[in-house]
């Protein structure tokens, strides 16, 4: 019965898509043939929705950027009601999100190794690095610093970007840009309820005064009971395999931004805690204290000014705090025969501050150059691990600190009217590696026609080992490795972008990523040292990924959107220990298909958004295959407030599929089953 229902639903979904497409096919036929640019004859109701072109000189048009940039706007966030940054990223071509009911992880173009914390992606807020100074982690879920309502746009720049941004930009850069006070221009109260006992309350205030002072404040609280009865086959002997009330999540956030003239001061805070139901890292199943807590805060001071009409200066100083701890009960033993319950605390604390100066110049005809220096001083990189029940016993207590500094130069040279060369390099020093890193980038951009652009790109990037990979000691299974070095990537990409008409974009890419000296966790079989039975992170991994992406997108004046993307890749890995040749990479879906469709209804008062994400099967650590899955979401949003009220209704995973995510080395489970259909309702009142 259930299956039949599912099939029916799926088919009705595709028929729906097809019908809506037919409508959009016929629509242009019936539409009056407007003369191009004839705004004079456009009705006023439409005129008020026409976007004013910004004359911002340095915001690159995406067809000029030396990459295949993808941008999600606040409008898209409204249309599809993405709950977290990871929801939004999951909508982007080539990205796929994995979650293990603890953190959220991002796979890029087929490369999504398990047992790491998004350290190969650089995540930024308003252009400033947000990866923490211990795990280099990118936080993407409720542990991300920003609420979705204050995000103006999300830029995804695929490919390696070390030539401008420094470390960690191996697979791509994600830059989240916040709204300004005038974008909110109100006091707004928001309440949200959802399935699995999920609640969110939020207060937002934004204003820009006539003297140019702009203020944005946002505070929110999130609580979710989660799935209160989670069944895990692997733990059938304990409590019948049911983790009771172990899926709770809590997150509190604050964000403030004050700007005046060229100065902007921003500050953010997030405190998120998650109970871990999976008994990962050798924990006792269904044992209450297992919780992970991540807290972060930052203060940024930016200064942006035009020195003269050809020279722009951007300067910034920042301070960042990050604290993490987890409490976990596990079975300890002194003799290997009798076991007792011990409670362990794993904690880290990091403080870092730094600054950057960037100059953008257009003095020379046909050239636009950018140069800059940035540094980050890792003042504290503290990591401890100890048992405190039944008695205190310390396993790890490590301290680090030092300087990361880099300088870069990039030039965009217009060789002819339709041919541009974008070349640059960056030099980096990082206190955890000995060598100076030099990473180049070369991009050739050819405007074949005004509407058609071709690009050829090459770049390399590095990633220094992080403190976790250097110093982590896990009970009696992991040891530190002071000898590990940087990882390297070389990436090659060919891109064709076509804008046949305004609002329509087609994109095709061909990519090859070559990753070497990847840090993987292995027992060291080669040395006969005392610690040869232990795991440690070593530069022994290799990965290569080849594939293509196709994307078509059309945006209409009235807010209608249709977007379809397909990513195909072939990703293989190998390590220096086993003699086996290249084999299919873990957690690497060969095909990713994403479809988005938004339709304004009832005179543009509401908007319906449909989202379909298909993720192909992925190989697990045990060599099995996690089956392919679909996620289909429907969202209904009000686009104009009525009496100051705005409502949003989101239906997530409508087909009630339970995707199986690939487990990591920390899990007993080979795959982790996710939740089915959920609902969220949000009501906002503006004053």
């Amino acid at each position: 019965m259930r299956n039949i229902k599912k099939y029916y639903l799926k088919h009705s979904f595709y028929s729906f898509l097809i019908i809506s497409l037919l409508i959009n096919l016929i629509a242009p036929l019936t539409a009056k043939a407007d003369k191009k640019d004839d705004f004079l004859e456009m009705p006023l109701t439409q005129l008020v929705n026409v976007e004013v072109q910004s004359a911002s000189r340095f915001k690159q048009k995406s067809s000029e950027a030396p990459s295949s940039v993808e941008v999600l706007t606040a409008e898209d966030i409204r249309s599809f009601n993405w709950r977290t940054l990871s929801d939004a990223l999951n909508a982007i071509r080539g990205l796929h999100v994995r979650t293990d009911r603890n953190y959220t992880y991002l796979g890029v173009r087929g490369f999504g190794p398990v047992g790491e914390y998004n350290s190969r992606i650089l995540i930024m807020i308003n252009g400033r690095r947000m990866n923490d100074a211990l795990f280099d982690q990118s936080f993407l879920g409720e542990d991300f610093l920003l609420d979705m309502n204050i995000i103006d746009r999300i830029e995804y720049i695929p490919g390696s970007g070390s030539s401008v941004y420094g470390g960690n930009a191996l697979l791509g850069v994600i830059n989240v840009i916040t709204k300004k006070g005038k974008d909110i221009n109100a006091l707004r109260l928001t309440g949200e309820v959802g399935s699995l006992d999920t609640y969110r309350g939020r207060l937002t205030y934004g204003k820009e005064w006539d003297n140019g002072v702009s203020l944005l404040l946002n505070a929110s609280q999130y609580r979710s009971q989660g799935n209160s009865q989670l069944f895990f086959e692997e733990f059938r002997e304990f409590n019948n395999g049911i983790a009771q009330n172990m899926d709770r999540e809590r997150s509190d956030r604050l964000f403030g931004q004050l700007s005046y003239k060229g100065f902007t001061i921003s500050t953010g805070y997030v405190d998120r805690s998650k109970r871990v139901p999976t008994a990962s890292f050798g924990g006792i199943f269904n044992d209450r204290p297992f919780t992970m807590v991540d807290r972060q805060a930052f203060v940024d001071l930016d200064y942006n000014t035009s020195i003269n009409k050809d020279l722009t200066l951007q300067a910034r100083g920042f301070h960042h705090w990050y604290d993490y701890h987890s409490i976990e009960a596990y079975l300890n033993s002194n003799d290997g025969i009798s076991f007792y319950r011990a409670v362990n605390k794993d904690a880290t604390s990091a403080r870092w501050w730094g600054g950057e100066v960037k100059l953008i110049g257009t003095h020379f005809k046909d050239h636009k150059w950018i140069t800059g220096i940035d540094f980050q001083y890792d003042q504290r990189q503290h990591m401890v691990n100890y048992d405190f029940i039944p008695e205190f016993f310390s396993y790890n207590n490590s301290n680090n600190g030092g300087l990361r500094i880099g300088g870069y130069l990039q030039d965009e040279y217009r060789i002819t009217n339709n041919l541009a060369l974008n070349a640059g390099f960056r030099v980096d020093h990082h206190h955890l590696i000995k060598n100076i890193q030099i990473n180049p980038r070369v991009g050739l951009i050819w405007n074949i026609k005004p509407t058609l652009t071709g690009k050829l790109l090459y770049s390399s990037a590095f990633r220094a080992p992080n403190i976790y990979e250097r110093d982590y000691v896990l009970l009696d299974s992991n040891v530190r490795n002071p000898n590990n070095r940087e990882e390297l990537i070389k990436s090659y990409e060919a891109i064709a972008e076509w804008y046949p008409i305004d609002g329509m974009r087609f994109l095709g890419t061909l990519f090859f990523n070559d990753l070497n000296k990847l840090l993987i966790e292995k027992t060291d079989q080669f040395t006969n040292a005392d610690d040869s039975d232990f795991n440690k992170f070593m530069n022994a991994g290799h990965a290569r990924s080849i594939g293509f992406e196709l994307q078509g997108e059309r945006r209409w004046d009235n807010g209608r959107l249709f977007k379809l993307s397909w990513t195909y890749n072939h990703t293989e890995t190998r390590d220096d220990f086993s003699n086996s040749p290249w084999s299919k990479a873990i957690n690497s879906p060969q095909n990713l298909i994403k479809a988005h469709y938004a339709e304004p209804i009832f005179n543009n008062r509401f908007r319906l958004g449909f989202e379909e994400i298909f993720v192909d099967s992925r190989r697990t650590l045990a060599g099995e295959s996690a089956p392919a899955y679909h996620i289909f979401n429907i969202n209904l949003a009000m686009t104009k407030p009525i009496y100051g009220f705005e409502a949003h209704l989101g239906l997530y995973n409508v087909l009630d599929s339970h995707p199986k995510m690939v487990g990591g080395p920390e899990h007993v489970q080979d795959v982790l089953r996710m939740d089915g259909r959920t609902v969220r309702f949000r009501l906002e009142k503006s004053f």
């Binding site: 799926k10 595709y14 898509l17 097809i18 497409l21 037919l22 959009n24 096919l25 629509a27 242009p28 036929l29 539409a31 043939a33 407007d34 003369k35 191009k36 640019d37 705004f39 004079l40 456009m42 006023l44 109701t45 005129l47 008020v48 929705n49 026409v50 976007e51 004013v52 072109q53 910004s54 005038k182 974008d183 006539d210 046949p500 008409i501 305004d502 609002g503 329509m504 078509g552 059309r554 945006r555 209409w556 004046d557 249709f562 379809l564 397909w566 095909n591 298909i593 479809a595 298909f614 192909d616 392919a628 899955y629 679909h630």
Partner: protein, 183 residues
Amino acid sequence: MQKLRITIKAVIFMLALIVTDITYMDRAIATTSASEQALIAAFLYNFLKFTEWPREIITREIKLCIPENQKFKELDDITGRSIENKPVLIKYVNFGEPIDDCQLLYLSREESAEKTRNWLKITRQKPILIVSNVSEFLDMGGMIILINNGKTLNFEINLEHVRNSGLKLSAQLLQIARHIRDR
């Protein structure tokens, strides 16, 4: 596998549809963005369409006036069009010259606040629709202000000032305005 096959079929079908869609694109040009000047011209043209001047003022043409130092080329597109069989003309004016034959006067934000106030003084109570995009224009005594919120262009109306001049704005205009004072 079944799922994958269905998806791929759907994808191919959708791609085919998109491609057919493109063949029609020349006919259905959809422009999503425009320069601010082009939009201002379009708004002014619409304001002319939706304003009623007092009956006793009978003119053969409709004159849109702008101080000579503020003229912009996008306005030229309006010249030659007609509203209710009356041709629309653009007239460049200078402060001090008679402007009684103007139906609409546009003052841009490039003009100094003091000059704008002077313009408002000499046009007070005259049946001329005064529009500007200078901030606080409605407080100064203006009738319609054009507001660029960084994304789109919209307008607000001070109805009292409009009424005092003997002008009438159509309901459609009032409906679309973002805000109306002294309704």
